[in-house]
């Protein structure tokens, strides 16, 4: 018995002594996780405040925000009206970065730069195209040697903003997709394997030859994965990158609440599967001062870390509006 008392005492003492300033807890988007973890490290260096962000998926972040278990959520999908109603209080969507969803593939012998169009991608994810050498794919890639191998389709198993951006794009481009599957953070997938988080999908693609999947660009480049050039609305094949993402975001009219979709952009050099990642907070949160400080840092200093991780910064003209929005937090 004595041991336990001692253990308890040590535990309590340790928690009071070692417990450092941990101001905020956040959760959500795995899409934003690489840059979020960089921000957290840099923010701690700059201010001494540590922030905990768990990449559990955008759906998880929004759900945690509604349940008030976190201070902020990261999400690549804006909250829908039903979710905003459940939240019960006004929420703010602060765009933090623009990211691109890379359609990554792992086909032995096939290098970088496979071309795909939206309808072909939709057919692959609907199960209508099952082999890599299908004529629809071959016609787009003359000169590339495509194997006669079954396509392993990988998708997310958790509620995901990456999935939202991806399905939002497919719904815009394919009527069969929008009627059979639809747009959402989690959908009923006609085919494929599910992995948890961008990490999980990237893991599936790496371990499965002849696979295809969609991940945030940083996961694809950091893991030396090959990814497609996607045909945009103007018919040009564009590779995902910070630039093509920011072109997709440039000039999009921003609504007052910042909830906007930028998939299937009409910019001739824009990448069609791009999206904002928002940090979502209550307008009157419990730790208003800390949240304000962090968000202001993110849209100012934080934006300088976007390039190295292949995100695009939030457009300049939007940032002024954001500042006012953040300062409305009480």
């Amino acid at each position: 018995m004595k041991t336990f008392k001692t253990a308890a005492l040590i535990g309590i003492a340790a928690s009071s002594v070692l417990g450092q300033a941990q101001a905020l807890t956040g959760a959500g988007s795995t899409f934003i996780n690489p840059i979020m973890q960089t921000w957290i490290a840099r923010y701690r260096q700059a201010t001494g405040v540590s922030i905990n962000y768990q990449s559990i998926g955008s759906g998880g972040g929004i759900s945690a925000l509604i349940n008030k278990t976190v201070d902020f959520a990261g999400s690549d999908a804006p909250m829908n009206p039903a979710e905003m109603q459940q939240a019960g209080r006004p929420v703010l969507h602060i765009p933090a970065v623009v990211g691109t969803v890379a359609v990554a593939y792992n086909v032995p012998g096939l290098g970088q730069g496979l071309n795909l169009t939206g309808p072909v991608l939709a057919d692959i994810y609907l199960g209508n195209i099952q082999y890599w050498d299908a004529p629809q794919i071959a016609n787009l890639n003359r000169g590339m040697r495509l194997p006669h191998a079954r396509i392993f389709v990988a998708h997310r198993s958790d509620g995901s903003g990456t999935t939202f951006i991806f399905t939002d794009y497919l719904s815009k481009i394919s009527s069969e997709w929008s009627s059979r599957v639809g747009t959402g953070k989690a959908v009923h997938w006609p085919v494929g394997l599910g992995g948890k988080g961008n990490e999980g999908v990237a893991g599936l693609i790496k371990t499965h030859p002849n696979s295809i999947g969609y991940v945030e660009l940083a996961y694809a480049t950091q893991n030396q994965m090959t990814y497609c050039k996607m045909a945009n609305a103007k018919g040009r094949f564009i590779a995902p990158s910070a630039e093509s993402g920011s072109l997709a975001a440039a000039g999009v009219p921003m609504p007052a609440d910042m909830r906007v979709s930028i998939t299937n952009t009409s910019n001739p050099n824009g990448y069609p599967i791009s999206g904002f990642t928002w940090l979502i907070v209550y307008q009157n949160p419990a730790r208003g001062a800390e949240i304000k400080r962090f968000l202001n840092w993110v849209i100012a200093e934080g934006q300088s870390f976007t390039a190295q991780l292949q995100y695009a910064p939030v457009p300049e003209n939007v940032r002024a509006k954001l500042k006012a929005m953040i300062n409305s937090i009480r």
């Binding site: 955008s58 509620g159 599910g194 992995g195 948890k196």
Partner: protein, 334 residues
């Protein structure tokens, strides 16, 4: 002491059945009544926890029960966009992986149990027995890690691809699907590796409980060792062995992390072993934290309720069987 969950103490008289001589000191008596109260409280907490678990999970799943009724068990639709939920895919997936796991594990674990109880010399029994106990203590997430890093690529390359490409077996209904790696086969094999130590450990204990006299009587009649095992030991320990297998089943049904890591997490069910699937615990682990709508959460809670009821029934029956066997032979010995 080996497998903590299974062993029942034999029913013995409680210590304080005879009324103790009471001290006349009222202070001491007061201490005693406080002490009795404390014990009662601790027991009440145990009681409350389990009742609260069942009640809470039930209450949380009422919305889903109300919306979908009994159809929840039989419909296969799992559509978070339109909020239509049915658990059939997950129920079937759980049962299917568990049954295959048992099918693989039973011969291996029973063979090992007999080996450890009757066949092997003492020199081998002890270290192997120790190893089996050790394996039972490995956390499931570690098995899961081995599963995705070693088992899945190996099965994909050396088992699934050759079979599905072969003219003869590729069309057989169990193999008639594109190999995935993360699929029912991987989940079943991994589960079987995980339940082998559990079934082996308990089955060995049950087999050992068969009185030595019965074995000796059979030897005296001129039986070979194998005949003793087949005609005396196994029939005597039958109920307990079935119980051991069911405890393995209980573990397999509730297993979460390892299965989540290798089954492919695809809400679909089909018989071919090479197709990805989903189980009840995995869908809870993957989707619960992010289910934003109350109905979605409630549907997951109802899956938890189904899992809870099945697990309690299977484990209860298993414990009963194991204790029946060991109790029966204690009477024979006495």
């Amino acid at each position: 002491m080996g497998i903590d969950r299974s062993q029942h103490s034999q029913p013995r008289a409680p210590l304080s059945r005879q009324s103790p001589l009471r001290s006349k000191n009222s202070k001491l008596l007061a201490v005693d009544s406080w002490y009795g109260f404390l014990l009662l409280c601790a027991s009440a907490v145990v009681l409350l926890i389990i009742l609260a678990i069942i009640l809470e999970i039930y209450l949380q799943s009422r919305q889903s029960m109300h919306t979908f009724g009994a159809k929840f068990l039989t419909t296969k639709e799992w559509d978070p966009v339109d909020e239509v939920f049915g658990a059939r895919v997950f129920i079937l997936g759980t049962i299917y992986t568990s049954l295959w796991a048992l099918l693989l594990a039973i011969p291996l674990s029973l063979g090992t149990a007999l080996l450890l109880a009757d066949i092997a010399p003492a020199l081998i029994r002890k270290p192997v027995g120790f190893l089996i106990e050790l394996f039972a203590a490995i956390p499931s997430v570690v098995y899961g890690m081995w599963g995705i890093l070693v088992l899945v690529p190996w099965l994909l390359q050396h088992v699934e691809t050759p079979i599905s490409e072969s003219q003869r077996w590729g069309r057989f209904f169990l193999f008639d699907a594109a190999p995935n790696g993360n699929d029912f086969l991987a989940a079943s094999v991994l589960l079987s590796i995980m339940v082998i130590p559990i079934i082996t450990g308990i089955a060995r204990d049950v087999i050992r409980a068969v009185p030595q006299e019965m074995r000796e009587a059979a030897y005296a009649l001129g039986c070979t060792k194998w005949e003793v095992i087949r005609k005396v030991v196994v029939p005597c320990a039958k109920t307990g062995i079935v119980g051991a297998v069911m405890l393995g089943l209980g573990r397999a049904l509730g297993e979460t992390m390892a299965v989540t890591m290798v089954i492919g997490n695809s809400p679909d069910f089909s018989l071919p072993l090479f197709s990805p699937g989903y189980t009840m615990p995995s869908v809870i682990a993957n989707e619960f934290t992010e289910a934003p709508s109350p109905l979605y959460r409630s549907a997951l809670m109802e899956i938890a309720l189904i899992l809870l009821v099945v697990a309690i029934l299977v484990n209860g029956a298993a414990r009963l069987m194991v204790s029946l066997t060991s109790r029966r032979f204690r009477r024979v010995i006495a």
